[in-house]
Every structure is written in structure tokens, then in C-alpha cells.
């Protein structure tokens, strides 16, 4: 009894020692900055009043606490940016995650069959994942170039006519979604393929024996079997897409006329544009974070309820 207790006590110390490095790194570089960021969102801090050292001279900080003023300013829509950015961010997230998941599922199901060259197809299809995002963004900018881009040259020859992909708001929105789908499908595909391979073959055999058609097998075996994988990648997908910085920043820089600016890229711009408005940037960040937290909690609740029902 005592030795057992002691062992669990030892184990606890081992466990804490093994998670300590991660906790330390995340604590110093994520949690602490986050708390500080949240505090900034309650002040009027910006570049000119934050205080700094120029040479040996120390200029003291003069920003002060303003309570919830920033939140009120942003959420009331008075800055004129929040609600348009929010709407576009939601459209972007829903469109990208839906396309990532459905295309990833489709391709994974094709690859999961006995296909010749399946290995080769898999390698080729994962290529977009292996390319660094800033190279992909650059490649697409080259291809979508208004006058000399290969996409427009092809469209021109087919007779559809050139599109000003990166200069016209609607076309630009379409373009960034296209680029992000291109970038994100491989990850989904590989994850779903893994999930498909974990579904026991016997279930399909039994269903075929019972005369289930392809749709019924998909609906009643494949989808339920994929649930653990799906729930993870949809949750991660929503978080990553909502916070997607690289694709937008590198392909359109939020333009034209701010039409492709997401909440995150706009917040970044507030913090690093001409007059660095750290307080409003932090406020946006805090709002983004709370929206994602609410989503993730609700999503987890729904999943757990769904599992209870099926169990």
C-alpha cells in the first residue's frame, strides 16, 4: 500500500518534470504575453506613449488605463472595420474549411481504393503541403498576375477573358480562398486517409453482405468511423483558418482596398502600420480569442452529446 502510494507520488514528480519544458516555454512566451496583451487592450497604449530607451535616455511610459473603452469602440462598430472584417472572416472560414474537408475526404476515399500508382498520386497530392507557404503564395501571385499570369493567359485563350485576380475585390476574395484551399487540402487528405485505414474492413464486408449500397456504406460506416479524425481536423481547421495570417498577408496583403483583410491581418496591421496602435490591436486579438474559445467549447459540448446519444 505504502509502496504503491510512493510510486504514484514518484510518478507524479516524473510527470511534472517531463511536462515542465513545454509548460515553461509556453508559459513565458504565450501565457505571460497573453496576459500582458489583455492588459494592453484595457489601455490606450500606442507607439508614441509606450516608453522606450533611446541610447542612454529613458522615456517613461505615459499610457493609462481606459477600462473597456476599446472594446466598446470596436464592438459598437464605430471604427467601421470590425463588422465587415468579421463577416468576411466567417465567409472565409466556412468556405475554406468546407472545401478542405470535402476535397480532402473525396481524394482520401479515392486513394484508399486499390488504385494503380496510389503511392505516386499520394506523393504528388501532398506536394502543396511540403512547399513553404511563402513560396506557394509567391507562386500563385506569379500565376495570377493580371497581364502575364498563366491563369489569365489560359482564360483568355479559352475565351472567358482575363480577370483582375488581385486587383478586384470579389475576384481577390475568390483567389485567396482558392490559394488557401490549395495549401490546406493535403493535410486534411492525409489525416482522413489515416482515419479511413483505421476502419475495420470487416464492417464493409458485413454491410455488403447485407446488401447495403455504396451510399449506405458511406453514410453508416465511413462517416461514423471517421468521426474522431473529422472532429479533430474540423476543430483545428476552423482555428487555423480563422487565424490564417500567411496566405492573406503574402498573397494580397489584405487588399485590394482591405477587401480580403481578415480580423487577424487587420489586427496585425493596426499593431504594425504607420501609427502603431497596440491597444486596439490587442483588443481585436482578445475578441478573436474569445470567439474561438466559445466556438471550441460549444463544438466540444456538441460532440460529447452526440457521442452519448450513439453510445
Amino acid at each position: 500500500m505504502i509502496s504503491k502510494l510512493r510510486r504514484s507520488y514518484d510518478e507524479r514528480w516524473y510527470a511534472w518534470a517531463m511536462i515542465a519544458p513545454v509548460v515553461l516555454v509556453l508559459g513565458v512566451l504565450v501565457v505571460y504575453p497573453l496576459v500582458q496583451g489583455l492588459y494592453y487592450s484595457l489601455t490606450n497604449i500606442n507607439e508614441s506613449n509606450m516608453g522606450r530607451d533611446i541610447g542612454v535616455n529613458h522615456i517613461p511610459a505615459t499610457y493609462h488605463f481606459v477600462g473597456l473603452d476599446n472594446y466598446f469602440e470596436v464592438l459598437s462598430g464605430r471604427d467601421g472595420e470590425f463588422y465587415p472584417r468579421l463577416t468576411w472572416t466567417l465567409v472565409w472560414t466556412v468556405a475554406c474549411v468546407t472545401l478542405h474537408y470535402s476535397l480532402g475526404l473525396g481524394l482520401a476515399m479515392l486513394l484508399n481504393r486499390q488504385v494503380r500508382f496510389a503511392g505516386l498520386y499520394r506523393v504528388l497530392l501532398v506536394v502543396p503541403w511540403a512547399v513553404p507557404v511563402f513560396v506557394s503564395a509567391f507562386a500563385w501571385r506569379l500565376m495570377l498576375n493580371k497581364d502575364n499570369g498563366v491563369v489569365n493567359v489560359v482564360l483568355d485563350n479559352v475565351g472567358i477573358g482575363a480577370v483582375d485576380w488581385l486587383g478586384e475585390p470579389t475576384a481577390a476574395k475568390f483567389a485567396v480562398i482558392m490559394v488557401n484551399v490549395w495549401v490546406g487540402v493535403p493535410f486534411c487528405m492525409v489525416a482522413i486517409l489515416g482515419g479511413l485505414q483505421a476502419i475495420p474492413k470487416e464492417q464493409y464486408e458485413a454491410a455488403a453482405m447485407d446488401g447495403a449500397n455504396a451510399w449506405q456504406r458511406f453514410r453508416h460506416i465511413t462517416l461514423p468511423g471517421l468521426r474522431p479524425v473529422s472532429s479533430t481536423i474540423v476543430l483545428l481547421g476552423v482555428i487555423w483558418t480563422f487565424n490564417q495570417f500567411g496566405v492573406i498577408f503574402l498573397v494580397t496583403e489584405g487588399g485590394p482596398y482591405g477587401s480580403t483583410e481578415l480580423l487577424v491581418t487587420y489586427a496585425y496591421k493596426l499593431g504594425f502600420a504607420n501609427i502603431r496602435d497596440y491597444a486596439t490591436a490587442a483588443t481585436y486579438g482578445a475578441i478573436i480569442l474569445s470567439m474561438l474559445l466559445v466556438f471550441a467549447t460549444a463544438y466540444r459540448r456538441t460532440l460529447e452529446r452526440g457521442q452519448e446519444q450513439t453510445a
Partner: protein, 309 residues
Amino acid sequence: MSSLTSTPPTAAPGTKADARPLPTRARKAAGRPNSWGRRSRARSVALHATLILASAIAVFPVVWVALTSLKPDDQWQKTGDFSGLSLDNYSAVLSDSSFTTWFANSAIVSVGTTVFGVLISASAGYAVSRMRFPGHRSLMWSFLVTQMFPVAVLIVPVYTILTKLHLTNTYGALILVNCTVAVPFCAWMLKGYFDTIPREIDEAGRVDGLTPFGTFWRLVLPLAKPGLAVTGFYTFLTAWAEIAFARTLMSDNGHYTLPVGMNTWIGQFKSEWGLMTAASVLITIPAAGLFFFVQRHLVSGLTAGSTKS
């Protein structure tokens, strides 16, 4: 069900009875009427057509950049013109001393992030997978929550903290910051992977007198290679392409990483897409090389991680 994928393309369409040995899936369908077999030939063609089309879309932008990089001077503007291809752009890029410095910086930071990040996330993932301790449940959940923090909120405080610690313009700082981006996901995935390794192996290690850490290091880690390969690949790519933090933390040319350095070119060489494409290809090579090295682990390594969430 592509039962006829093994049929050679020379067979006439509509061959009814196919006497050749069929693959497993087709054998299952053998009891069905012949019309089914005929339809699946059309399906097989459609299947391959879809996969070929999808592969083409996946690969085309990369191929296009590679082709453009071989065009001399301003020829990138002539979309269909592929005359006079040469490696001039590559020699121009490689003789630029900044480029090689940035390349070395990126390599140091990415390899450092990969080694350090995978080690600490494996250790945390193992602890969560095998040991029971207070905070065990909430730890995984908080890993997920860290993924929700937008860079924009963190970047200013992180910069202030690292300035106070006199760590700006050091590789170590960027390695640590990159870890915060990659580690939560890696720990999550590795925890799932460790869950699939039988506990009996740990018990055996215990019986042989290994400490919990010894069991982890000498028995479990070697078995988790596919999982480690995938997380390593993910971490390397994250660090190799990270731009927001690198831009803020590294302020002199000698410490720039590739993405940051290349960004300075965009203004400098307004129309020199030739150089940019050549540099892009050179940047993609290490990432692609690593990818081909780990790609056979990719599916098995991810499966466990995502099914056992």
C-alpha cells in the same frame, strides 16, 4: 469500386467475362451481374482522371515556378515562351552573399526548432499518455487553446519580453518562439501516437529496472519513429516558413531568415521575378527533401494522432 484497375488498357471496352484473377475487392463483387463489371471500367477511368487532374493542380504551381526560374531576364512576362532556358538566375542568387547567409540562418533556426520542439513535445506527450497527475486533463485542452491565440496579440508583448532579456537577434529566441507555434499540435499528436504503443512495453522496462524517463527514452521513443517523423516534418516546415515573428525579432541583415530576407527583395528587385523564382526553388528543396524522407510515415504517423484525440 475500381475492380478492373488491373485490366490492361488494351482490353476492349465492354469485355464481359474477365477471367483474369481479380484483386480482393473485385472478388468480393464477383457475385454481382456482369453489367456491374462493365460500369466499373468507366469508373476506373473516371477515378484515374480525377486523381490525375487533382495531382496536376497540386503540382502545377511548383512546376510553373521552377520553369519560370529557368527563363532569362524579363522573359517571365512571355508566358508561353520557353526558349533559351538557363541556370543564370540560380548562379545570380547563389553568388549573392546575403542569400547564403539567410539560408544558413534559416537552417540553424529550423533544425534547432525541430530538435528542441520534438523533444519537449514528445516528453510532454508521453507524460500525458502514460502518467496520471493533477492537471493531466486540462493540459491537453490548454495546448489546444494556445492554438487560438492570434499572432497579433502576442507579438508586441513577446518582443518586449525578449528585449528585456536581451535575446532579440539571437537564434535561440527565434527557436523558442517557433516552438510555441509548433509544440502544442506536436504534443497532441504524439500523445495519440504513444497511446497506440502497448503499455506492456513500459511495464517490461519497469521490471528491468528502468526509470520512467529511461523507459521513455530507450524503449518508447524508438518505437514512435513514424510519429516523430511526422511531427518533426511539421515543426521543420513551420519554422522554415515562419515570417511574422522572424520579421519582428531579427532586425539586422546578418540574422534574417529566408522568408524575411526575400521579403526585402520584393521592393528591391521590382521586376526580377527570375531571381525570386530561382530563390523559391532553392528554398523549397530542403523542405521537399525532408518530405520525401518522411512521406511513407505520413499516413501511419498521423492516423494514431488524430484518431485518439
